[in-house]
Amino acid sequence: MAPAGALVLGILAYPVAWEIWASLTDFSSRAEGGPVFVGLANYGRLLGDAWFWKALATTLGYLAVTTAAKLVLGVGMALLLARPSRLRALVFLAVFLPWAYPGGITVIAWYWMLNPPLITSYSVFMGNVKHAVDGVLGAGAWAFLSVVLFNVWRGGSFTAVFLLAGLNAIPTELFEYARLESRSAWQRFRAVTLPLLAPYMALAVFLSFTTAFADLGNVWMLTGGRIIFPVVGTYAYWLAVKSGQLAEAATWTLSLVPLLALGLVVLFRWFDPREETGA
């Protein structure tokens, strides 16, 4: 126990403390002199900032859309793969591949495919798509959307494989009873499969939350900060790296903690219920 705890908490403790401390000061790499303690002023300013609420809304939208897409795809593919079929082994491998393909670098390829930097055979087509999307949603929307697509593609694969494992863990008798008791496949799915699968879905969703930001970060770094579509995460990067306003950046980042903590509470409720303790 000790080594693992030391590794995780030991490495994380200082950065987290630093972030909290920085968010309470006016720390900036541009200012003269050392940081001054300013209390909760940064948070106050944040809450009064219209840009922040817009970014928060986009972030929530991003999380909701990617999570929903990943869940639907994941559940669908897991159910498909759970049924015996001759093709199953091969298709299973195909579904596994998006996650197995090293994401940190595939996202590079993926991003440049959807936003071709050079004249290639498909760049006119992609350019048209980009302008159509940007025209409706604002500049940078297509670049942002391409990251969303990548995240869904890769995360959906992880979710599918994870939920397939979950389906395997459910005793088959339950499905056989359900077959006898229910009238339609849809009813069976809603009354039996879904509730049994729910805890695994919660875990998969939570893990996909955390990677959703990693993908944005990857692309942000890669394109030299070309995506500043208003999302809390990337805007915090922008503040920290481009303009050196570390205090604000820390405040922005920490503003997501309540959200993630809430997710964590829900997760533990479903996946690690207390009642079992006596067993």
Partner: protein, 284 residues
Amino acid sequence: MSARRLRHGALLLLAAVYSLFPIYFITVQSLKTPHEDVFGSPLWLADPDFENYTALFEGAEARVRGFVIIPRVPFLAWLANSALVLVGSLALTLGAAVPAAYALGRLRPPGWRACRRVLFASYAVPQTILFIPLYQVIVHLGLDDSHAALVLIYSMMALPFCVWILSAYYRHLPREIEESALVEGATPVRAFLRIVLPMSRNVLVAAALFTLGTVGNDFMLASIFLLDPEKQTVAAGLGVMDVSLEELVAVAGVNLAAIPVVAVCALFARTYVRGLTAAMLEGA
């Protein structure tokens, strides 16, 4: 019945095409000549050419073509670095996760549940600008520009999940298994190494593949913590290439680096699912 099976088959095919299409697409682009890249079709190849791949192996010297300086990349060194970081992360993650999981799942000291939760809660720390203070930690440890830094950080990221699934598995493993070994005169450590560890092989593979996925998914940290071009991993190295000039070489690099990873995953994909299932039985 047969219409149903046909529909099932069609859906399976659709899932496969959906999953594979992006990989197919980037592979097609990476095999194109510059001419075909501009005038050919994006979807298929008329004249496959491995130039982009061989360019990766031509050593680290820069070369001039026309008016353009084409930097060469030490791709083999990057591959070796990636492998080193990966193996290190795997060893450290599993080495730390197994005893922790066994302690939490089997010995259950008071507060084991809280411990496990706190560990898992570290996923809730937003990673966004964490690299700034992390860098301070790394410099303080004297690991600046060293692979050990990445090994530490990746292990930190993969550990909570690994501890979680392993401890869930150990918790539900019947106690009699070890007890019978103890009765036969084995020491607890020996019983663990010879009996419990081999039994949890599937779960170990699942944990290892998860670690692989975590390491593979990162680009940002690698590019921040490794500055020396000779020391970079594939992800960090390809990222610093001038992508707009050498897009296809970078894509070729992605594919080439993916081959061993994909092979390993294909080999262990089934075990991965089995391991996860074993950990999930009776609801983790």
